[in-house]
Structure formats: structure tokens, C-alpha cells
Amino acid sequence: MSAALGVLLRMALRNLVVHRVKSGVVGAIMFFGVFLVVSGTAMLDSIRASMEKSITSSLSGNIQVYSSEAEDELALFGSMAMGASDIGEIDAFAPLRELLLGIDGIKAVVPMGIATATVFGGTEIDRVLNDLRVSTQAADAEGTKMRFEQLGQIVGRMRKDVALAATASSDPEKVEDNLASLDRVLAPGFYDELVADPSGTLDWLDNKVAPVAADGRMLYLRNIGTNLDTFPKSFDRFRLVEGEMVPEGQRGILLSKAFYEKQAKNYVARELDKVKKQLDQGKTIAEDKTLSELVARTATQYQRIAFQLSPVDATVVTEKLRAKLGTDGDLATLLQSFLTMDDTNFADRYAWFYAEIAPKIRLYELPVGEEITLRSFTKSGYIRAVNVKVYGSFEFSGLETSDLAGANNLVDMMTFRSLYGKMTDDQLGELAEIKAASGAKAVTRDSVEDDLFGGGGGSLETETTTTTGAGFDEFAGVKLGAAGSAGALDTTRYTTAQMEDGLALTAAVILDNPDDVPAMIETIEAAAAAKGLKVQAVDWQSSSGIVGQIVMVLQVVLYAAIFIIFLVALVIINNTMVMATMERTTEIGTMRAIGAQRPFVIVLFLVETMLLGAIAGGLGAAAGALFITWLNHVGVPAVADALVLLFAGPRLYPVFTASNLLFGMGSILAISALSTLYPSVLAARVPPVVAMQAKE
């Protein structure tokens, strides 16, 4: 047996050497196919493993459980779909949590909800006027004086700008009006006016002076509501960057560090960061038009620094800028000149900006420790607003540079429920009552003109006789003041049960063994169905939304490429072997004539191709393994934001496993065998007489 195998191998080897060109071509295809399989699957496995790490340990857990009545798929990191998605609701979280914790292998269950909100950034003058309102109401003379000085500083600079822009204005009357209002604030007796009538003066400032400044901006926040007490324990990538955790049981928000850097940072600082990033990538201000435009645009925004400096700081910065630039001028001129940077001075001025100016301005909107107003369009359509304190900022370790990972902020469950605004049955009943009392008849868009005007010809006008007297009492039966305690921050200490047991949108499930995901999904769904809970369970990849979809696309592309390569290999090997059979009929006939049976011929051909497959595939696998080892050494850079999340950091360090090698080798041997079946059967049919008929 072994002797026969030896003969077969020797013959196969000899044939490969004799037909070296054909062997070379087929071998090269096999080599490339296996190289692709080994390196591709190793990369994909590494990406999946790193993504699993980053996603499960930052936000999703191993499994996410949400309503089976959801209209859309859960997408924790956002989806391609526009608009708000409907992922259903879990009305009562407690029964679901108890059910899940009762299943063996589940370590923790964390409630979650998603609610977007806006925060009005406001302008500097709006902020100062608000502060003035607070200090005058509190009769804080010192605070009022200080804020008033800051107001004077801002108004002084606004006046200069308005006067400067006056020549280009198409509405000189409006300019005159604005200048008169600004001059009134700068006039000596205005402080006394404010002290004498704070409310009236502040209203006048709100209406006449504040609109002269540029509009404030709206900041958008995507918030994940969760139990902030247990979140850091369940998601070990969570890291508090600044501030403190929200005190146990209290309302509060933790803002993502990425949100601060990309959205809440002072405009000038943010633009300078962008310039620095591009310069670090090798671009230059002199050669890159977009970059030079960015620098020029940033310089025009000097007011965003100037308006934020207190009178004292403005003097200090002016002096320092004079010394730094070696020129004279007022703060506005100096700042503009300072911000007009080029390749030679950017690094120095960037560092100087952060050392000397940044500490004196409000570098970030919504700073840690501040109370902010989150406003949301709720599920029911009503606008809800809630005041919360920003307790700190956070990031996920390894994902610091990922915008996707930093797209979510964290709020407590009570705040989430306020922003989500699900209506109770009583509230729905109240709406029905208001509606019934209105007497408005229902009309449809299609027939509205007929419904409203079709019966016309008569009078469109009705007479009402009530002209004098008491009129009507709009407040009869109305309960005002029930909405809240007029802006006071809710400092109630909620129990875990209060935080967790109400409405949630999903449950993040952390498993003891992450490899159990598929089996646990089945167990969870079966257990929930038995209890009558309408929920579905999905793995971390499905729940991650856009990021999970990227991996799916990568997987499909890789497998499609492998399939095509192997299909090509199959056809080429098959054709080559058919041609070889035809060329080698004499040789086969001779073998058959000296006693070789048909199975021997079949096996000979199979061994020949599989030997080639083993050699070329082995080399391909080795090359793939070497390639991955090299990548592991240098790291694959995450060039796009989504890749940071996929790679669980700025670089991916892929590894290969025995299964990648076995899969590569197994595939090529299977392809070799499959593609040789037909030619070998064809060869086996060659009769011995062919050898005798062959010409010399």
C-alpha cells in the first residue's frame, strides 16, 4: 500500500516537474487563493474580535434585548436610516430584568433608552444677561457689578463692529437704531438704571441689545439613558475623563469627550485643532487651498475669543499679544493679526493660544459642573425640557479618537424618561377631553376645499356680541405651576427600583461566557415567550447599527472575492487537467497496457493536483501568515472614523489562528480534488490500445 503510494507520489511529482509551466500557472492561482483566504479570514476574525471587544465593553453588552414590536432595527451607534427610529418600548423593565437574571450564564442586565435632545448654546451676551438676571433677582450687588462690567466690555466691542459695518449696511436706519441702543448701555448712568429697575432694563437689553449680536447655536445631543450607578461596572471600557460620576440615584448627565471636542469647543479653538490635525498629516497652509481658507476664516472669528474675556483678562491678553507680536493696536486688531497664521508660526501660536488665551475663555460650552437645559421633541410630539447637571465627561478606552463611539452621552433613566416623554393613560384621556370640547370637525386634505367652501354662497362671517364686560377667564379650571418647581434642579435621590423599574427601550445583557451568544439568544427568546414578554434578542453586532453593517459588508466582499478566485481556480485547473489528459493519452495508455487499473489512473491524477495544491497552498498559507505577522508588527491604521471603532483603537494588530490556516489549506485541497474529478475520469477511460497506436 505504502509502496503504491510512494510510486504515485513519485509519478505525480515527476509529472508536475515535467509540466512545470502548467504547474506554475495553476500553482500561482492556488497560492494567491490560499494567501487571500488565510490573510483575509485572519483580518476579518481580528476585526470581529476587536469590534466585539470595543462594542460589547462600551455600550451594547453581548446581547441586546428590545421589543419585538419594534418597527426598526436597533442601532446603538446610529443607522443609515434618516429620522428617528422606532425600536419599540419595554414598558416595565423589572419583570424582564428578573427573567434575564434568572437565566444561567447571564452576569448583568443594564436598562437603556435612547433620546435625542438639543441645548441652546446662546450667545455671550445672552449668557451675561441671564447671569445678570440671576444676580439682580438674588440682590447680589457684587455679582451684578461684575456682570455689568462684562456686559460693558461686550457692548463696547459690538459698538465698534456695528460702526465699522455701518458703511456697508443697506439699512442705515437700523444701524443708527442699534448704535443708539449700544450707546445707551455705555452711557455713565446705565448701571443706575439697571439697579433701579432690573426687570424692565433687562427686558430692554434682551429686546434691543442682544439681537444686535450674532445668533447663538443649537447643540444636538444623542443620549443613552441608563443606570449610571451600574454602567461603569458592566462596561469596562468606560473611563471618566473629567469631573465625577453622577451621585448614586440622582439625575445627571455625563458628556462624551468627543462631543466636547467636536461640538462644544470654542469655535476658534476647534478650528485651530482642525488645522493642526491636517498639518500633522503633512499638509501645508501655503499649498493646501482648503487649509489656507480655513485659517483665514478662523481669523475672522476673533470675536468669539474677544467677547469671552473679562475686562481684566482682556487687558492682560492685549498686553501679552503686543509683546508677542511686537505691534501695537487694540485687542480686536491684535487677535486678528495673531490668528492670521502661516506654516512657519502655526505650531508656536497654537501652543501660545492654549497656554495664554484658552484658560481665560469659556473653552467648552456646557462645562462640567454647569446646569444645562436639555430639550427634546418627545415621542408624543410635545416638547419637553429638563434641567440636569453635567457631572463629568467620559470616553471609552481605546476608542478616544472614534467619533462614532463618542456620539452618545450618558444620562440617568429618570432624565431619559423625561426626554422620551411617553404619555400615561391619564394624560391621553386629558387630550381626548380637550379635543372633544374643541368642536373642531374633521376634514381631509383631499376634500378640504369642498368640505370648507363647497356649501358656500352664504356668509363667511359670524357676529359676536361680546365686546365689553368681563370677557372670559382663561385660567378657570387651569392648574398652573404643576409642571415643575420653576426651574429648580431635581435633586431627588431615586432608589434603584425607581431608576430601573419603569420604561426602558432595551436591556444590555452581559454574559459570563461571550462565546455563548447564539445559544443564549435562543434561551432568552424562549424564556421571554414563555412569560409572555414581547421582546427579541440580538447579538452585539446586529445591535451596533452602522458599524455592524460595515463588518457585514466587509465579510460579504471578502467571501465574494474568495469565491471568485476559487471558481476561477476550479475552471483553470479543470481545463488544464483535461488538456493534460489529452496530451498524455499515450502515457496513460502505456500505464494501462502494463497493468495499471482505472482507479490507479484516477488516483494518480488526483494526487498530482492535490500535491500541487498542498505545495502552492502551503506556500500561500505561509505567505498569508507572514503577511499577518508583519501587519501585527506594524499595525493597520484606522484611516476612517468607523474603522477606529472596528479596530477597537487607532490601529489594528491582526493575528492568525490555526483555523485560518486549516480553512485555507482545506479549501484549496477540496478545490483541487473537485476540479480534477472530471479530467481523471476522462484519463481513466483511455484504453491501453492507444499506447500501441501512438506514432513514434
Binding site: D206, S380, Y382, V386, L431, A440, L460, T462, T464
Partner: protein, 269 residues
Amino acid sequence: MKTPSKLALLAWFAVGTAGTLATLPLAPVAHAAPAAGELVKMLQTVDDRQRNSGDYKSLVYIEQKEKDKSDLVYQAVIYRRDETDKLVIMFLKPQAEAGKGYLRVDKNLFMYDPSVGRWERRTERERIGGTDSQRADFDESRLAEEYAPAFVAEEALGKYTVNHLKLTANAGFDVSYPVVELWLDKATGNTLKRQDFALSGRLMRTTYYPEWMKQFSPSKKAEVYTPKEIRIFDEVEKGNSTTIVMQSVDLNSLDDSIFTKAWLESKSR
């Protein structure tokens, strides 16, 4: 008597047919376009009728229908002092919304929410309470001042004959929509239909005013017109619509303090 020629008969028939066609309500009627001065006068009539030289208070019902969503309903009170361009909209019902409101002073629109105790400056395009209605829907009509009219055609709207006008915003006015089309009842001069367009020419909203209330105002010493009902259809988000019903109107003078931030704040304390 001389028999008319075939040609004369044909001409008579043609004139008759054209005349009959011209009276059909669907086609625009071929009338001489009113002079520019007349058009401005039409707008002034619309404005003057709604203007009250004194104060104005009304109780309104606002209902917003949105596709695939439950209806949004409010009861609100509107206070207006047109003389000084002041307006307050305060929500009274449902209870969760009570005390929220808007204050317009000059060209500033502020929103107040008692649950957070804060004011926010809003834009002219603010969707009042998240509905398709805007500040201008509740405010004094200033069409003649804000827009320049052009005549489109005399048309039929249901069983009413209407003047169809196209208005373009005058420079320097902060209006919600730069182009507006109006359909004014020829008999009464009241606005029956209005369409608002974006600068791109895209139709944004269609509004109907099926009924107008007249009320004698002692301060104006004339009648003040108020739309009893306003139906707004969102033309961008098809399927969304807002209905406003004026439940009561009162033309008595109001306290000065109402038009201040402090008043709105105090109502929820």
C-alpha cells in the same frame, strides 16, 4: 327682414361660446387685473379688519395631526397689544404644558418653559409648541406692510369667487415666508386660502380660513375680524396638519405687566 349671413351666424356662435366658457367657475376669469394700488388696498383691508387699536385676548384650541403619530392638542391663551408689537402665547392645557409660552416684543421671540425656568430666544420660523403653526398665525396681520402684491387671477374656491394674489416680501422685513399666495373672497374681502412658499419656490404650507368672526371693538370704534378657524396643511411633511379654533375673543384692555417675562414666570410659581 334680412336673413343673417352664415359668417355672421358663425361669429355670433363663437362669441356666445366664448362668453359661456368665461363664466365657468373652474377657469380663471379673464378680467382686467386690478391696479397695484387696488391690490395694496385689498391687503390693507385684510390687515385693518384684523387690527384692533386696543388690546386683544383669545382662547384658542390648537390641534396638530402627524402621520403615524397621536394628535398633539393644546388650549392656549393669546394676548396681543398691536400698538406696541407685543404678543404672548401661553399654553393652558394639557396640564403638562400649562404655563409654557412665548413672548414677542418688537422683533424678538422668546420661549419660556416653567419646568426648567428658562427663556430661550427663538426664530421667526419657530413651530409653536411643535405644531405647524407659527407666531405670525396668532399675531396681527401686516401683509400690506411686509409684502408687495401682484394679481394672479380671479378664480373660484368652492362656491366662492376669489381674487388670487401673489405677494413677495419687501426688503428689510423678517417674514416667515418670502413668497405668499392669497385667495381673498371677492364679496367680503376676507382671506379664504393662503399658500406659503420658500425662496426656492417650494410650497411649504397651505392654510384655509373657512369662517371669520366680527366683533365690535370700542377702542377701534369699528368691527374687528378674527378667523374662527384656521386649517394649516404641511406641504413638506404630507399628512401633517394643524387646526386652530378661536374659542373666545375678548377686546378689553389688558394689564401692561402681561407683556413681560416676569409675568409669564410668575404665573407658574
